[in-house]
Symmetry: C2
Subunit: 420 residues, 2 copies
């Protein structure tokens, strides 16, 4: 008998939809017990998990995966402990489900408010890191959503083993194992099926490289929560405090290079360029950051490479920074609108009115005054957890925590009221 | 020179994007002055508007439009007064833009909160009623969004004339006329272009018949706020109060037939069917409502027609009602999950625990206890205005007012803070 991916995915979808209905009735206590039970099983099976992971690592080495990918793929016994701890942290978060807000009496006599409810079924498509399997399952479960998880084929043994632990934990507290389903095939057609499953899946969250996210957002018929690019800017204004400007510009670029909230382009007001660019160039030189400047920047710092038009639209994710001298804040905002990715943009200024304008007018998921772009993160913002970052404007925007996995429906209470 | 719809729509999109950026800087006072100025111009040009409308009506009669459509197309001088009054009411609403919520200090020292901002550019595709042109323009303008409006070809003269008034009002207060653009061609390809304009349009709202909404949601690459069906249920529980049950069941069906929040299927607990169905049948008979019952219902009320399987999935929008006897609330919720459209569903019960379960577990945009489904409406809910109803779960759900036309971005305030 041949494996039929269409039938398989339809069955996964139907089971998820059924599980979602059951899970929407689960109270916080039951969901937390499930999270803690899964953590227990993971710890108890730590040895099996690392053994299965070793199979993936060995296959990865045979297939010539580079060392960065192998690093992300590796699951050590400490990694298992961290995964279990992550589940316990999610159990400790407040349950967003069932919260009723904005309850008010209307002139007609009815009472109207909003109740926070799960979205239903969440599909998550991700790469390499097997810990995402447990993290994503935990956030979906806590927010009352059934999950369909599709990890990378390079992590299939690890993900299968984690899936067994999740299923055992769920069943230990009486929840169906289908509450969290890990797609058990490396057939790429399974992704296509998931992206077309409007009937069974309420939202898709892709986590991984740009190719993955582009494919998902191009093909998906299901709504997608995503961010494609993180072309983040820091603008050093005429009225910037020098010490703050240097600190923030350095941190935003060099704290970590491969992250979406790292600065990729530094904009600096013309009036401050001569004074600050040489100091910044020295700081970046210490960290071996390659600088690519506009003509005006290169005229001030000779060691800079001349930037091309392409540089302003490039997310380096590397020790490379483009630098542009701009006339004023207006020109900086124009540059951000033309070249940014609406992710995170920063102004460094002591000027009250300019800070206020920048905050209001820059159309990004996070707009920052006098702090590093690196703060754009679910944990730093106090969401308790993060399933991803959205640069879309509808539904969740910016770091997405538990609340982004929920919806609000209207509830109406009457006493026999009819419309006149 | 032939008219090139692709070039035309690209230019409309670019102008809208530019206008949106300007409008995002407009304060409430300026936006309100624009709304009042447009109202003035509409009243001053009432005669021209009704003359232009007469051209549409005459063309409509020549093209054999039915009387219901001609009714919806007609714009009288009273209609112009109502349109102007609508604009003034929107001016009086609170401006949602700029509101900052959830501002908190984080352990890192930064302050984080959310600021409500416009979505950007909103495309609205609608049919017949020319007053939608002014209503939709008003809601977009108040919420700081540029609008691209595409009315039906049957209303092109009316819509053009209203567009001139809107442009004059905008320019009178110094806002660009491109803040609200009415598509000035009846070429159907313009709709296709609008639905593909991901770069220029942030959300599409279709308003009209099912064919229109199906086409838009099938073709659109831009996110859509929509509701396709309104298959609403009233479930009369074992523990229903008789007087409330009869009142609500009658109102939900007969208050208005052609609306999305009218009841299409009545579910009744087996224990109450014999007592209540004959009384309900009498009430509906007075209103000439055709009843289509399940076998159990038909056994109780002989005059009922036997319902077919298709009836449970049909939105009649007419004096027709399907009726089904169910074992209990569980069976009612199963029916609603299987056949409903997640719009508005009602339980009539005096039982506290059952009301609580129904509210939590029924997955509809409005869930109602002891009140008519007809309350599911932006004005009844106190939103002040309504641009449509959404049965989707992401972003806006239920009646959509000004807030549904906005997004929230994160704002971060620091004092030179960097990530450690």
């Amino acid at each position: 008998m041949t494996f039929d991916v269409v039938t398989y995915m339809a069955s996964v979808g139907q089971q998820a939809r059924q599980a979602a209905r059951l899970l929407s009735r689960a109270d916080s206590g039951l969901k937390n017990r499930a999270l803690l039970a899964i953590a227990e099983v993971l710890l108890a099976k730590s040895e099996i998990l690392t053994q299965e992971n070793a199979k993936d690592l060995s296959a990865g080495r045979s297939n010539g995966l580079d060392s960065a990918l192998l690093d992300r793929l590796a699951l050590t016994s400490d990694g298992v402990i961290a995964m279990a701890e992550g589940l316990r942290q999610v159990a400790a978060l407040q349950d967003p489900i069932g919260e009723i807000t904005d309850m008010s009496h209307r002139p007609s006599g009815i009472q109207v408010g909003k109740m926070r409810v799960p979205l239903g079924v969440i599909g998550i498509i991700y790469e390499s890191r097997p810990n995402v399997t447990a993290d994503a399952a935990a956030l979906c479960l806590k927010s009352g959503n059934a999950a369909i998880l599709r990890g990378g084929s390079e992590a299939i043994h690890s993900n299968r083993a984690i899936a067994v632990c999740i299923a055992e934990g769920l069943q230990a507290v009486g929840l169906p194992a289908t509450t969290v389903q890990v797609i058990d095939t490396t057939d790429r057609a399974a992704v296509g099926e998931l992206l077309r499953a409007k009937e069974f899946v309420d939202v898709i969250i892709p986590r991984g490289g740009k190719n993955l996210i582009e494919r998902v957002s191009r093909e998906s018929l299901v709504p997608v929560i995503k961010h494609l690019d993180g072309i983040c800017h820091v603008y050093i204004d005429d009225d910037a405090d020098e010490a703050k400007a240097l600190k923030i510009a350095l941190n935003a670029k060099t704290h970590r290079y491969g992250v979406c909230n790292a600065m990729e382009t530094l904009l600096i007001a013309h009036s401050r360029a001569k004074e600050l660019l040489p100091k910044l160039a020295d700081l970046y030189a210490e960290k071996d950051v390659e600088l690519r400047g506009c003509a005006a920047s290169c005229a001030i710092v000779e060691s800079m490479i001349m930037a091309t038009a392409e540089d302003w639209d490039t997310e380096y994710l590397a020790p490379v920074l483009s630098i542009r001298v701009v006339a004023d804040m207006e020109a900086a905002m124009d540059h951000i609108e033309a070249h940014g990715s609406h992710h995170t943009d920063v102004i460094v200024t002591e000027n009250y009115s300019k800070a206020r304008r920048f905050l209001r007018e820059v159309d990004s998921s996070s707009v920052v005054v006098n702090a590093s772009s690196r703060f754009a993160d679910g944990f730093e913002y106090g969401l308790g957890a993060e399933i991803g970052i959205s640069t879309d404007k509808l539904h969740a925007r910016g770091p997405v925590g538990l609340e982004g996995l929920t919806s609000q429906k209207y509830v109406v209470l009457g006493d026999g009221h009819i419309r006149q």
